[in-house]
Symmetry: none
Subunit: 496 residues, 2 copies
């Protein structure tokens, strides 16, 4: 066997093992009985350990060495480049550090869950301190040019740098602040009672599933189940699992949550399955992944054209519930903009302020400019400055997200990157495909999905995110399409 | 680390990997989307291959060598004996054959499911052919004294032989035929309309789940889901999955199916979990496993005392449906004996004829006396001879069972062994515990469950099945307790 084929086989086995972990992980969050938790932890521990051994096996290093400078075609070049990246990162991590991080975050998540319940930051502070210390060690082990934060970012958004993101986020913020200010000052407000009526959960499920199918999620190659913290898990070719949660008096959570996860799912289903387990058959970055969920949830799913088709169907699904609500009322209500405390409940515009705050704070933690014990003060001060609100307690503030307790520093920016990419992609799709709203008005989403499949999904990791963006839209990532989209939507709604 | 501890750790990792396969396998039969089948086959193939590598690693051979003649306590002796047995069998199997079988049966199960739907044996025939060829290779690789079939049997029923089983089955058949004949000739017949009324599936589920919980299945450590071919999967400590299927106009299938699988589940939940992954913490044999399901389904669940408690509750669950039915009517109807086509729907008496047919046919396939393509003809001919009926199509005949598509040749006899062991154990439990029916009449099953926990479940593999039977009942396995039980039950019902 030649070195390339051998390398692909080894790496693919590592991904196959990961996909087995994805099934087991999905089960853990959907159907596992409570008393199975300890045994499940053992299973997951074994898979993680065995996977890391597989990825860092000297054989992969040897094969990569043999392929250094070898003549390769385009696909092979991409695969070798990205496998090398993944391997290099993995072998740079001392296994003692890997183990230490795994142990720490496993305990820290439980501490965080308790601390959030009681809004008790001091209980979590020593754990955050330990995690930040470990992540700084990780950055040192992995290496970086400018900022230790880059080393963390690189895991989620290969090739991105804190400096670049800081620049785009600053531009975005400069335009967002007056927009959000104008909305707050507007006398026009949506009716807030519309989405908080009695919506029977079984009917929410039926409607959400039908909407996900309509936009192009293939239910013969996927499922939708309920869980506590919604996620999408692409298990492999022909198998992608969406999850959501329903609230009997909040339509938003279930409905837009499903469209969001279905966007992730359509990406997973659109990957080049012949290349499963190799970089050209894998998603590009978390920012690009998030662009696909945000695109379907927001750009499409909160748009007028979408609801021209779906609103009569929503009314039929909940007979009598929406008799007093016009299409305009409903759309306005689904696009309510309002400063609020909780990131996952924030609207499309203010959401990005929540991310910018976290991004700044994480960098300060990594640089050592902010002590973990000072996080609550810094959080509340920044929150006040950015969103003009002061959290009543830390549960409503710096304790709200699970990410830090999981060691996921560097992850947050991918959410706003997703919003930016989504707007830029959608602007281009509208240029390339003409009147997409005419499609949506009659419940047709196939042309858009086909465009995304070709331009983004089937590209896999042929380009890094920034290059993919240039290739698809002809432009580097910019805050302008998102701002233009938000202005275009909120202008008529709020009369601004 | 001493050799014994080291051996246990290695073997336990192999079982942990198997338990990961159990989660993935359960998912395949419950929630996996149809298009995920090929990828799932790859995952299962990888797990099987990797598991086989783990089990057959030279390290285990070395450790077993070091432990040869070592001074060990009782538990250690059992563990080393049974690990050696498993290891010896596994090292005889070439890993290419193991992988080939795993991949083939994963796909064959889907082909079988489609073929059964369409009653299209030719679609399944090449897969059966491939499976029989692979199983003959397996028997050759594993080795045997008298019959290649023994090599397969040994996997499910360690130490059992085709010759022994043939003898017990012949004795059973000799007594069964006149009994079934007398029943057929009796003028007393149950009302057949009772169990084939409208029974809403959601209420069947509620009743079945409550009954399973009442007899002792712990739903915090397990679940009940629906599938095509019901099974029970013991994933590990605290996690055991029951599955069933419901028919809206057949109470039998769901209700007794659940009691059956719950019997398996109670065994799994009753194992010594401190010894998870080692022989003393594992089930004894499939025949013993089946004795536990049959015991709860038939010996308990079709008895008068059980229904004295549950019949009023069944009536309440399906209001109005059973107003014209007396307890006697219901019990007679749940114990209807009638020659029929489908094994899983057969009554306790004729059921064993279905097994004897399969046992003979599998031996002929393994000897090469029967070509897989000739199975439908041979099936129908034997069926006519044994049960005096001719299946209308292959879905009703040789395509009805999943087992062959799973590569499970040698498995069927364990069902009738289960019936035999169940009768013999229950006879002993009634001797040891006194009036068990008085317990059942008031919905109490704890004394019986406790007895089974102690005498059978927590024994693990300390004894092989035959020895366990002698230890618990003082007698070798015999057809007599089953015949006595059947006569005792059917005598009054049919006036024979």
């Amino acid at each position: 066997m030649d070195a390339y084929t051998d390398l692909i086989q080894h790496f693919r086995e590592f991904r196959l093992l990961e996909s087995i972990g994805a099934v087991v992980g999905w089960d853990q969050h959907t159907y596992m009985p409570t008393k199975g938790a300890n045994h499940r932890a053992e299973q997951m521990g074994y898979l993680a350990k065995h996977g890391h051994e597989k990825l860092t096996s000297p054989k992969i290093g040897e094969l990569l060495g043999q392929l250094d400078g070898a003549k390769l075609d385009d696909t092979q070049t991409v695969n070798v480049r990205e496998i090398r990246r993944t391997y290099d990162r993995a072998v740079k991590m001392p296994s003692k550090l890997v183990e230490e991080i795994a142990k720490t975050v496993s305990q820290a998540q439980n501490v965080w869950a308790e601390a959030r319940k009681k809004s008790d930051f001091p209980a979590f502070a020593p754990w955050l301190d330990k995690i930040v210390t470990l992540k700084r060690e990780e950055a040192k082990a992995v290496g970086y040019k400018d900022s230790p934060y880059d080393a963390l970012l690189d895991e989620y958004e290969p090739g991105a740098t804190a400096a670049e993101i800081t620049r785009v986020f600053a531009e975005l913020r400069a335009d967002l602040i007056p927009l959000v200010g104008a909305i707050a000052a507007s006398g026009q407000k949506p009716r807030k009672d519309i989405l908080t009526r009695e919506y029977a959960i079984d009917r929410q499920h039926i409607f959400g599933q039908a909407a996900a199918a309509a936009i192009g999620f293939d239910f013969q190659a996927g499922r939708l189940d309920t869980t506590v913290h919604p996620f999408c898990s692409g298990i492999g070719p022909g198998d992608c699992r969406l999850t959501t949660r329903y609230h009997p008096r909040e339509l938003n959570q279930g409905l837009f949550g499903i469209l969001h996860e279905a966007g992730h799912g359509i990406y997973e289903q659109g990957l080049d399955h012949a290349h499963f387990g190799t970089p050209v058959g894998s998603f590009c970055s978390l920012g690009i992944h998030e662009s696909q969920s945000r695109l379907w949830e927001n750009q499409v799913g909160r748009g007028r054209a979408f609801w021209e088709h779906f609103f009569p169907r929503l009314r039929q699904t909940f007979p009598g519930t929406l008799d007093d609500v016009s299409l305009d009322d409903f759309i306005f209500s689904a696009n309510n903009v309002e400063k609020s405390f909780i990131r996952v409940e924030a609207d499309e515009a203010t959401y990005n302020m929540h991310i910018i705050l976290r991004f700044e704070m994480e960098q300060a933690l990594m640089r050592g400019d902010l002590k973990p014990s000072d996080v609550p003060g810094a959080w509340n001060e920044t929150f006040k400055r950015m969103l003009d609100l002061t959290p009543a307690n830390d549960a409503q503030g710096c304790l709200q997200d699970i990410h830090w307790s999981m060691g996921g520093l560097g992850y947050f920016p991918t959410y706003t990157l997703g919003n930016l990419y989504a707007a830029q992609f959608m602007q281009q799709a509208r240029k390339d495909l003409g009147d997409l709203d005419a499609d949506f008005r009659v419940g047709q989403f196939g042309r858009l999905k086909g465009w995304l499949n070709e331009k983004i999904h089937r590209q896999g990791q042929r380009q890094r995110a920034g290059e993919l963006c240039k290739r698809v839209t002809g432009q580097a990532l910019s805050h302008k399409p998102l701002i233009a989209y938000l202005r275009g939507k909120y202008g008529p709604l709020y009369g601004i």
